[in-house]
Symmetry: C2
Subunit: 233 residues, 2 copies
């Protein structure tokens, strides 16, 4: 069940739009706004959402954090090294794994742009999420913080990258290429002195096999060898 | 060795500023710009950098992708499901692990806001990085794409979250609390019928131990019990 992204007292419509885009990038759509400063809907949110209109259109507003969290069995707040709050502090990855594993509705609070969440907001939730970041410069933009959580929700490894269409040529084709190359080089007087020939050929064979050329590339390279050999001849 | 973040033909100064902030959030500082549309420096980059001035000040500009990559032994480009390019495609996490493990200078290309990288740019690098994202809405904002890479560079698990200051009270304190609670409830006639007393106490003990109260919390709760018991007496 997808977690709700809950922006608490967000200030700029632009940031709400960027949050919507970041959510849509990773398949999230349950956006909730607690007391947005400039009201809702906010026309400034549209352009930066870059087409994530379904997220903005579906956004719901609430008067308080408690109302926004009412249907959530798992409650989280994002904060950087909260000092006065005695709560478990976990990473975005751990939080998203928890939510996925437990299969319960979760709500995640994000504070206003400048100030972050109040201690009162942090006290209301079960768990604090801290995004690991540079201690010297730990304040993430609101949409960037949402992005990290959404990215971890989607599962950084969940969808394997598109499988490389690159398929190395069968060994025989590589051997054909090497045979062709050695013959052309021999013709050109490259193997000198003769007793070094085997070692030089081994070096070339190593280079060519490590490159994992595809069949197309092998054909191209044989054309190159042919052309060069022709020039000399 | 930290990878270079290389923005190829970036359009908006604002986005360059947001990239600088995202880099600084995760300890990166080697920013390179290839043919930025509006020249460089660009005053629009300042405000969204939100204090990441050292990254902007250190940014270098280049005329071509090849010049920007010249000192990089590992070369990457970010792209979503590139079709015509026969290259290995890996995830941000894999790429950052590679860079960390190999300890070599790496450069990562990011395309312009609207169009992404050209096929010619993709062909110049060794490896493509694809950020796993929703197939319906896969286009990340430029700074968001940089953020994901920077986040993975920093190591999502590298810095453990601040250790929870929350330390469950020693078992004896919890037992003291339970004894106190049971005595007060007994006084209040809560345990009825009597043959259910042991089962009810087990239930309460289960609830109280799962909560992992701290010593402070145990003290507070004993005050609560004392106060409630006083009211009744």
């Amino acid at each position: 069940m997808e977690p709700a992204i809950i922006l608490v007292r967000p200030q700029l419509g632009m940031n709400i739009g960027m949050v919507a885009r970041a959510m849509a990038n990773f398949g999230l759509s349950d956006l909730r706004l607690v007391a947005p400063r400039d009201g809702w809907p906010n026309p400034d949110a549209g352009p930066p959402a870059a087409g994530a209109d379904h997220v903005l259109d579906g956004a719901r507003t609430f008067g308080t954090v408690h109302e926004a969290l009412a249907d959530c069995s798992l409650t989280f707040a994002t904060a950087f090294r909260p000092r006065d709050v005695m709560k478990p502090v976990i990473s975005p990855r751990q939080a998203m794994q928890d939510i996925r594993t437990q299969g319960l509705k979760a709500g995640i609070l994000f504070g206003p742009e400048r100030s972050g969440l109040l201690t009162a907001d942090l006290i209301s939730v079960q768990t604090i999420i801290t995004i690991p970041a540079s201690p010297d410069f730990a304040s993430l933009n609101l949409a960037q913080a949402v992005l990290v959580l959404a990215y971890e929700w989607f599962g950084a490894e969940a969808v394997p990258p598109v499988s490389p269409a690159r398929e190395p040529a069968p060994h025989g084709e590589l051997q054909g290429l090497l045979g062709h190359l050695f013959a052309a080089l021999d013709q050109a007087g490259y193997f000198h002195p003769p007793h070094r020939t085997a070692a030089t050929q081994r070096t070339l064979a190593g280079i060519m096999s490590a490159a994992r050329f595809t069949s197309d590339e092998v054909r191209t390279l044989r054309g190159v060898i042919r052309a060069l050999a022709r020039t000399r001849g």
